[in-house]
Every structure is written in C-alpha cells, then in structure tokens.
C-alpha cells in the first residue's frame, strides 16, 4: 500500500505544480524540484542501511515512522498545504 501512495501524491503535486508555475519558468522549476530527491535518495538508502545494521529493524522502522509522523504534523500545520484547492485548479 505504501507503493500505491506514491503515485497518488505525485499526480496531485504534478497537476498542482504545472497549473501554477509560469510557462517561461517551468523547466527550471521542474529541474530544481528534481534536484532535491536526487541529492537525498542515495543518502537515504545509506542511512537506512546504517540504521538497520547498528540499531536493528525495529529501531529503524520506529525512526522512519517518527520522521513520517513529524512530516504529517508539519504538513497539517502548514496552511498553504492544508487549504490547497483542487489539484488541477
């Protein structure tokens, strides 16, 4: 189910972003957006590996769930996200 959530989020965010970014800036904003995951993806896999090896799976899952909880709280507390209108609009 976690893998099913990714495309739901991606489609909503891409539709929202594409309808908001001015056409003349679109490619550079898309590229900047892609830059952040590109930088963190390899680091994330390495960090998970270290956490699994030295703290064990339960601690690694707990840490990951705690980060996801903080992100959910941050998203809920951010008015720009909470009150965002229809994705495509």
């Amino acid at each position: 189910m976690l893998y099913a959530l990714n495309p739901v989020k991606n489609v909503a965010v891409v539709s929202a972003a594409m309808s908001r970014i001015p056409e003349r800036l679109r490619a550079r904003v898309v590229a900047l957006w892609d830059l952040l995951p590109a930088l963190t993806t390899s680091l994330g896999a390495a960090l998970m590996g270290l956490a699994l090896q030295y703290a064990g799976p339960s601690a690694a899952v707990l840490a990951a769930a705690a980060i996801m909880l903080l992100l959910a709280l941050a998203a809920t507390g951010t008015a720009a996200i909470r009150d965002a209108p229809l994705a495509g609009g």
Partner: protein, 331 residues
C-alpha cells in the same frame, strides 16, 4: 484522429498519446538496460563496487546538471530537446552491441555510455515534464499525469524480467532493445503537431541568472516551497524502504522468490495507485488529499513494527543474501 467518444479525454488526445506511448516504450527499454548494466559489468569484472559505480555515474547528472539543463530547456524548443536527447541515447546504447560484436567492449565504454545516458535523461525528463501542460490542457492534466505514472510503474514491473530474459539469451540484447526503444520514441516525437517551442525571445542574461530566477520563484510560492521542503526528509526515509523490506523479509526467512513476489505486489500497488490517482486528484482538494496520503503513510510505516516478529510457521531455511541484493537497486 477520430477515436470513440467513450474513451477518456487523454486517450483521444493524439499528441499526448504519441508522447506518452514513446515515453512508455523508452521507459520499458530503460528498465531492461537498467538491469543489464550491473549484470554486464559484474560479468566482465566480477566487482560489485565497479557495478555500483555505474549506477552512481548514471544518477550524478541529475544533481550536477539539473538546474542548468532546466534553465536551458526554458530557452529552447522542448520537442527538439527531447528529440536530440533520445537520438543521443539511441546512439549511446546502440554503441554497446556494436562494440561487443567488434570484440572491443570495455568497462570504460560502459561508464561513458551510462554517464551520457544519465545526462541526456535529465534533458529529456525536464523537457518532457515541462511540455506536459502544452500536450494536455488543464482539464486533462491530472489524467495525463496519472497515465504517465501508470506507464512508469508498469514498465518498472515488467521491464526487468524481460531484460533478464534477454540478457540470458545474449548479454547485449537488452541494450539493443533499449536503443530501438529510443528510436521509436524519436519517431513518436517527430509525429507531434503541437508547438512546444518558446513563444517569447529568451532574455540575454547569463544562465546562472535564469537558475536564480527559478529558485526565487519556487521560494516565493508558499505551497510549492512547503511541498519541496517536506520532500527532502521524506525522500530520505522512503529511499530506504526497499532495503528495509528485504531485511525484514530475510528475518522471516523469506527466500529470493518470496522477496521478489513482495516487490512484484508492491509494483502492482504502484500501478493501482497511479490508476486511482487521476480520479482522486479530480475530485478531492489538494490539501485534504495530501494530508490523507501523509497520515496513511505514517500508519503503514508503523505497521512495519509488526514485521520483525518471527512467525511460528515460518520455515527455518536461510536464504541467499546475494540473490536478494541484486533486486535492491530497483526500489
């Protein structure tokens, strides 16, 4: 092109279908060669480290070139960028079977090809995403984006097994198939009628100023800035998910086939999510939808805490770590 009216709007949009079809085919080819690259380097060198270096070389251009490519694509015609990028990728991938036939294939060439392919992928991907609103009008944007996601997950699901089968028939066949997929993508781009060019004159400013303007715009948009900032820690967590699943499955003594089945089910979940996403995006407000996704993710991550329990009916046979590690790079 007169297609039946009962089809969804994106299926009646000729140019979007051409672009999507070409992208799906080239994505399928890329997922085949994506598996074949480490396999071929391992066959040539027997070094996992050297195979891993190829993966790094392929991914590095996204971080190193991305912002500058984005600024350049904003100055150029997106269709031309995609055409040249995929033509270049066809030549780069095609050079592998050619060198193999001539008996000159080397690790150096594989590294150059994967770096060139990764760099041209940045160009193609940036131009492709930026061109999407021109190919699909606002009312089709969510459906078009969902269709692209479905193709991505479907090709990621079926591509590697096909690539593995081709590799067992001939080590360079996946690269040949990938090169052909890029040729087909070029043909689909040549058939596009939609104007993807720039309508205003590009200002005579340094490239760096264009990049800075993009950063400033992203920073001034409260919604997109918040989404982008939350994406950083989220990617840190989710990029380790594949490794976590492998370790948890191994702790329950799952064999390579069982672990493969877990990832196959996960891939199917991606396709299902992509199919559902257009419907959800068109009916729900973005805020509640994103919050629902985030809180569901928290719940699902917490459920992993139940996984390390050793079930009494689990077989005690230990599985091979080597065969499971070969699957990890895909997720």
């Amino acid at each position: 092109m007169n297609l039946p009216r009962h089809l969804p709007a994106t299926w009646r949009n000729r140019d979007f279908l051409l672009s999507w079809g070409g992208q799906a085919l080239s994505g399928l080819g890329s997922s085949m060669s994506g598996l074949a690259f480490p396999l071929l380097i391992l066959a040539l060198t027997h070094s996992p480290a050297l195979a891993g270096t190829a993966g790094m070389l392929h991914a590095a251009p996204f971080a190193l070139l991305g912002p500058f490519v984005g600024a350049l694509v904003d100055r150029w015609d997106a269709r031309r960028v995609m055409l040249w990028a995929d033509a270049g990728r066809a030549i780069a991938l095609g050079s592998i079977p050619l060198a193999w036939l001539m008996g000159h294939l080397s690790l150096g060439q594989l590294y150059v090809v994967t770096t060139v392919e990764g760099s041209l992928l940045v160009c193609f991907h940036t131009a492709h995403v930026a061109a999407l609103p021109r190919l699909a009008p606002a009312e089709q944007l969510a459906a078009a984006s969902a269709q692209e996601e479905s193709a991505y997950y479907a090709t990621a699901l079926v591509g590697p097994p096909i690539g593995g089968a081709l590799f067992s028939l001939g080590r360079v066949l996946p690269f040949l198939a990938d090169a052909l997929s890029f040729v087909l993508s070029v043909v689909s781009l040549l058939l596009l009628r939609t104007d993807l060019g720039r309508h205003e004159e590009a200002p005579a400013v340094p490239l760096w100023a264009d990049v800075r303007e993009g950063v400033a715009w992203l920073w001034r948009s409260p919604l997109l800035r918040a989404l982008a900032l939350l994406d950083i820690p989220e990617t840190l967590v989710t990029s380790g998910l594949g490794l976590l699943v492998v370790v948890l499955a191994q702790r329950q003594h799952a064999g390579p086939a069982a672990i493969g089945a877990v990832f196959a089910v996960a891939g199917c979940g991606g396709v299902v999510g992509a199919v559902a996403s257009a419907w959800l995006s068109q009916r729900l407000c973005l805020g509640p939808l994103l919050l629902a996704v985030r809180w569901t993710a928290v719940l699902l991550w917490t459920l992993y805490l139940l996984a390390p329990i050793r079930w009494p009916w689990a077989p005690s046979r230990r599985c091979s770590t080597r065969s499971t590690q070969s699957r990890m790079w895909r997720w």
